[in-house]
């Protein structure tokens, strides 16, 4: 082998970079976030699978309808009327941002810009 003084260190650096996740996590797979679900409400505005997969699209749609098109009409789910609002509808049941929103968002480093404008509810212990 020629130039092994340069090539072998180069390969070692390459392998270290590729295996970065292995030695960064040092064998600790960590805890999966646990959501605190509301105790008094049984049902969300959409089925669980839907809301879990598409809540961000729904919130965006609400924002566009309410803020841009002035369509503030209430919508009905199982006989109950809901307002298209993050603070008054979502956070009504999910009282804690830290124990609900942030658990998954922090785990997967999703940084939604909801709270750039909205006020996060006051956290009660």
């Amino acid at each position: 082998m020629y130039d092994s003084g340069k090539i072998i260190p180069g390969l070692i650096i390459f392998v270290l970079i590729i295996t970065f996740p292995i030695w960064y996590n040092h064998g600790d797979a960590g805890e999966v976030p646990k959501l605190e679900l509301p105790k008094d409400a049984k049902q969300c505005v959409q089925p669980v699978a839907e809301i879990r997969a598409k809540h961000m699209q729904l919130l965006n749609q609400w924002r566009d309808e309410v803020i841009r098109d002035d369509e503030r009409a209430y919508f009905e789910v199982d006989g109950r009327m809901f307002q298209k609002t993050l603070q008054n509808t979502c956070m009504e049941c999910h009282k804690s941002k830290v124990k609900f929103c942030d658990t998954c968002h922090d785990y997967t480093t999703v940084n939604p810009y909801c709270w750039d404008c909205h006020l996060a509810p006051v956290e009660t212990e």
Partner: protein, 339 residues
């Protein structure tokens, strides 16, 4: 057509993962076993290829130069990047090559006009879209590290923030989602549209393009269009699990995810066998990484046999007897025979 076979191969891979991941229990094959085999093939194969290259002697300096070489005459100005004379100049040249694809900047387009007249014209498109594609891919890989690392280090978050800075839609669109597709479309399109390039292109030129295109499209579909069952927490748990050797599939994950992961696994496993090895090869290109110093240093071919000097006098000493016998004139006669 040389692109139909690779296209069919990528479609077949998609179908394998799609159908396979819907068979109960096969999620462990597509989610855990195949990714491990793929990354092992990638790392071992990559190192093996580089070591094989390193075993090939490069006896002479063969840099491609396109500038004035070093001259001791003080009024002749050396082009230090195009004709590097020492290691530090080579390092500068290699750095610009690896980071900015400097040699593609010289890319020209040859055309035959009526006459017949051959013209060469500067064509920076390959450089532009090549750079766009490679950097997009790099950023995409870095962004994905948020799924493999727990907690996510700050520099990954910085890259992700920068990539999503346009804040278009929700979930937010990434700039690199658009630019990697744009780069791929150009790199594929130029092989179709340029006549001489279409002639040169082989199945193994098209296959990686289709494969990476498939990876990008399935990724974009998962993020923006078919979000059902793309359970990001379960996916992160699996990815971190893979990196800590404790993989767990804790929920049902959409087939789209397994298709994406399978195509990535195929890309990793295919990498060491393919032209994609230019990732390592660019560092080992003798036409780029050698100094143009043939006129300053003597480079000895390492496989030259060890030939000892053999003067005529000693040659005659060795063969005098036979030379005299065959009437070949000699400088020194044979010693008189002792009776």
């Amino acid at each position: 057509m040389k692109y139909t076979f690779p296209l069919a191969a990528v479609i077949a891979l998609v179908l394998i993962a799609w159908i396979g991941s819907n068979i109960p229990g096969m999620q462990y094959l597509f989610g855990i076993v195949i990714p491990y085999l793929a990354i092992a093939t990638f790392i071992i194969g990559f190192c093996y290829r580089v070591v094989q290259w390193a075993k090939s002697p490069v006896p002479f300096r063969i840099p491609t130069t396109c500038g004035q070489q070093y001259s001791p005459l003080p009024w002749i100005k050396q082009n230090k990047l195009e004709a590097p004379a020492n290691t530090s100049q080579v390092v500068a040249r290699m750095f610009l090559e690896v980071v900015l694809f400097r040699s593609l900047w010289r890319h020209t387009k040859a055309e035959i006009h009526d006459g017949p007249k051959l013209t060469y014209e500067s064509s920076k498109w390959l450089w532009l879209f090549g750079l766009m594609f490679h950097y997009s891919f790099l950023v995409v890989v870095f962004r994905h590290m948020r799924l493999f690392l727990d907690p996510v280090p700050w520099f990954i978050q910085v890259i992700e923030f920068g990539d999503g800075i346009l804040q278009i839609g929700s979930p937010g669109m990434y700039i690199t989602d658009a630019t990697i597709i744009l780069g791929l479309v150009f790199l594929f399109g130029r092989r179709l549209i340029t006549r001489n390039l279409r002639y040169l292109s082989l199945a193994n030129d098209y296959f990686p393009l289709f494969l990476i295109f498939g990876i990008a499209v399935t990724g974009i579909m998962m993020r923006f269009y078919f979000r059902t069952d793309v359970d990001i927490v379960a996916i992160k748990r699996l990815a971190v699990g893979l990196a800590t050797f404790q993989p767990v599939i804790q929920a049902e994950i959409s087939s789209l995810f397994y298709i994406h992961l399978f195509l990535v696994s195929v890309l990793l496993a295919y990498f060491p066998y393919s032209k994609l090895m230019h990732m390592g090869g660019v560092f080992l290109s003798p036409t780029r990484n050698l100094a143009n110093d043939s006129r300053m240093r003597r480079h000895i071919n390492p496989w030259n046999p060890d030939i000892k000097p053999h003067s005529y006098a000693s040659y005659e000493d060795e063969f005098r007897e036979f030379m005299v016998e065959n009437d070949i004139p000699v400088e020194k006669e044979l010693p008189p025979k002792a009776e």
